[in-house]
């Protein structure tokens, strides 16, 4: 069987697709828990080579059974160690060999994430690998696998448009404002509401180097705290009329039963382009403000449209990502196959050296001829190894290579 050793690589885990959050949250492991689990796996079942990845959406064990140590009842053994007390109705997935490799590459690229293309997972994969590396537990195959997975994650983000277009409401609210009023560095922006959503938008706005940021809230102290953090100004809702009339961008992020920003506020105000983005439900900005000269109005439905668009673009890009992953899996597979041949390669090297030494001794050659012969032997061996490397990309087995080599040795005693 080709890649028989390689099949000892596996991934065992659960993610947002296979388990509900009430189950996942039980097995979201802290750094300390991950360390304890990893060492228990090594000491109790002999799984020396392992990496444990645990995020809010997945808990996965990547392992490599060295030699013939793989237990026949792998699933049960792992289930008890990684997911103790897991209800019988939930079945973690177990992939071997290239399937495991494919899975990790998809995870690192963000293709297996709940929000396709998100970049945080790449950092989490890196952290999981580094933790294992620090504990000395990944082994050669897992080290190669994770290093390549990190490369694949970066490559897919560079070569596809997977990471373009944001899926967050706050980021898309800012995107809309930018499309209307352009650069924000000379603009006045008003955020109505200092709650969680308001704070998120305000932070996105600050990242865009907004000229003047004003935050209004029912509880002024809350607005002041946020304004202090973001170098903005704070005020009570009583300032709404004057603040709206002065602003270029108005973001509504406040919980109220009725709209607080109404068209009448703008009557008699100087004519200029104003962008109103309402991200609160129920709506805090009356859609009729969009009828005022130079005013644009968007609400949460419009933002959903943008988010959905970004999501479908990412799904399209995901297929390109999968193509890259297939080629990377092949690359990894060929590399591992070649690595598997290293004892044979060493044997070939030794045989070449022995023949050379014997021949030169018999002929008692001059020093100049001796070094030429050594160079020639090295080059011939190099050609053989190149051929071997190329053949490792195809389905040639170790046994076939050995048979060919032995034939060669027998015919050339």
């Amino acid at each position: 069987m080709p890649f028989s050793k390689w099949n000892t690589l596996f991934i065992y885990g659960m993610n947002h697709r296979t388990c509900e959050v009430r189950v996942r949250e039980k097995f979201a492991l802290s750094e300390e828990q991950r360390r304890v689990t990893r060492s228990a796996l090594a000491s109790e079942i002999g799984l020396e080579e392992n990496v444990l990845l645990s995020t809010c959406n997945r808990t996965e064990l990547y392992g490599h059974w060295d030699g013939s140590g793989a237990p026949t009842t792998e699933q049960e053994v792992l289930r008890g160690r990684v997911f103790p007390g897991l209800d019988g109705e939930f079945h973690p997935y177990l992939h071997h060999g290239w399937n495991a490799c494919f899975h990790l590459f998809r995870v690192a690229a963000g293709l297996d994430s709940m929000v396709v293309g998100e970049s945080e997972i790449l950092r989490q994969v890196k952290v999981a690998f580094e933790e294992s590396l620090a504990a000395g537990s990944p082994g050669r195959m897992l080290t190669d696998l994770f290093r390549q997975a990190l490369e694949v994650g970066k490559r897919i983000r560079t070569e596809t448009a997977l990471a373009t277009g944001s899926l967050s409401v706050a980021a898309n609210a800012v995107k809309l404002a930018l499309k209307i009023v352009g650069q924000l560095d000379d603009k006045r922006v008003l955020v109505v509401g200092a709650g969680e959503t308001g704070a998120l938008v305000a932070r996105h706005l600050r990242a865009q180097k907004v000229g003047q940021l004003r935050i209004l809230n029912r509880t002024v102290s809350k607005a002041e705290a946020l304004a202090a953090e973001l170098e903005g100004e704070a005020g009570p809702l009583d300032d709404l009329r004057a603040s709206v009339r002065a602003a270029d961008v108005i973001i509504g992020a406040i919980e109220r039963p009725d709209p607080i920003v109404v068209k009448e506020i703008l009557s008699g105000a100087p004519r200029k382009t104003r962008c109103f983005v309402d991200i609160s439900v129920p709506r805090s900005i009356d859609p009729l403000v969009g009828k005022s000269p130079g005013a644009f109005h968007f609400d949460i439905d419009d933002l959903s449209q943008l988010i959905e668009q970004a999501r479908s673009e990412r799904v399209q890009e995901a297929s390109k990502g999968d193509e890259i992953i297939v080629s990377e899996v092949h690359k990894f597979l060929a590399k591992q196959h070649f690595v598997g041949l290293s004892p044979l390669v060493q044997e070939m090297r030794d045989a070449f050296d022995e023949v050379l030494t014997r021949t030169l001794k018999e002929g008692e050659a001059a020093q100049a001829f001796r070094s030429d012969a050594q160079r020639l032997a090295k080059r011939l061996l190099g050609v053989s190894l190149d051929t071997l490397k190329r053949s490792s990309r195809t389905h040639i087995t170790r046994e076939q290579v050995r048979a060919a080599y032995e034939l060669f040795i027998e015919e050339n005693p």
Binding site: K179, G182, Q183, R271, K272, Q309
Partner: protein, 274 residues
């Protein structure tokens, strides 16, 4: 010179079309196409076009816009050069796909249907000819560019009001930038057209006994000039919205286009290159 003229009359339209194609590719491949290629092709087209203008000018020892077709060709050159400057100095997304087709059509039409050899134009021998025609061609090009930006502004604004966030939304610069480009080109157009009218009025009197204000070209130019004053004063008094400026630019562009077409009419004498 004649051989160079013949070769360039074939090559220049081809390069303009290649530039439009390169911008189309960039827009379709959404930024992953190398950014430099469309710019390089456009600059190459401009350099060849400049050579063509020089060659045709040398052939008649006059300014190279003595025929109707040569005027269109010069207009295309100025429009493209203006666009290229905007593209190089602004950091906003490219609008080449929207702006370059018009000059490409003009230059292709001029090279395909215009006379192979340039013709000498008696009026061009008068010294103020260049003083009048250079700002006139520059002004018309600026008004056309302003109109194109105005059109883009109106298209994007409409898309946003209808909550359509498709390709146009992703591809075009923001409304503020489009409005700034629209207004800047409009002001340049107004200044140059004013200069052209001023020189034209002075020079006209030297050649003709009576100024014919009813000549369609003069009439349309004066109408455009008056129209262009509105957004400028409107902006100064802050009573004019970006949308109104864009609309004015589109209307001005349409009138200018008509004024170019009417010079083909048989009764247009002075501006008819006859």
């Amino acid at each position: 010179m004649s051989e160079l003229n013949d070769s360039l009359r074939v090559l220049v339209p081809l390069f303009y079309q290649a530039a439009v194609f390169a911008y189309w590719l960039r827009a379709e491949v959404s930024g992953r196409h190398p950014r430099g290629i469309p710019i390089l092709v456009t600059v190459a087209a401009l350099l060849m076009h400049l050579l063509l203008l020089i060659a045709r000018g040398r052939m008649v020892e006059q300014a190279p816009w003595t025929t109707y077709y040569d005027t269109l060709s010069a207009l295309a050159f100025v429009m493209t050069a203006t666009y290229m400057i905007v593209e190089l100095i602004s950091r906003s997304p490219s609008t080449g796909l929207d702006l370059l087709p018009l000059p490409a059509i003009l230059v292709t039409y001029a090279c395909a249907f215009g006379p192979a050899e340039p013709r000498a134009f008696p009026v061009s021998e008068h010294a103020p000819f260049v003083l009048h025609t250079v700002p006139a061609i520059g002004g018309i090009a600026a008004i056309l560019v302003s109109g194109m930006y105005g059109l883009l502004y109106l298209r994007l604004e409409r898309a946003m009001r209808q909550k359509r966030f498709g390709r146009l939304f992703e591809r075009l610069p923001d409304l503020e930038t489009l409005s700034r480009m629209n207004y800047a080109a409009l002001v340049v157009g107004l200044v140059l057209v004013t200069a052209a009218i001023g020189w034209g009025a002075t020079w006209y009197g030297d050649l003709f006994e009576k100024i014919q204000l009813t000549e369609p070209k003069i009439m349309f130019t004066l109408i455009v000039w008056v129209i262009l004053l509105f957004p400028v004063f409107g902006k100064l008094t802050r009573r004019w919205t970006d949308r109104a400026t864009a609309l004015t630019a589109v209307v001005s562009m349409s009138i200018v286009a008509i004024s170019i077409l009417v010079t083909l009419l048989p009764f247009v004498k002075f501006h008819g290159h006859r």
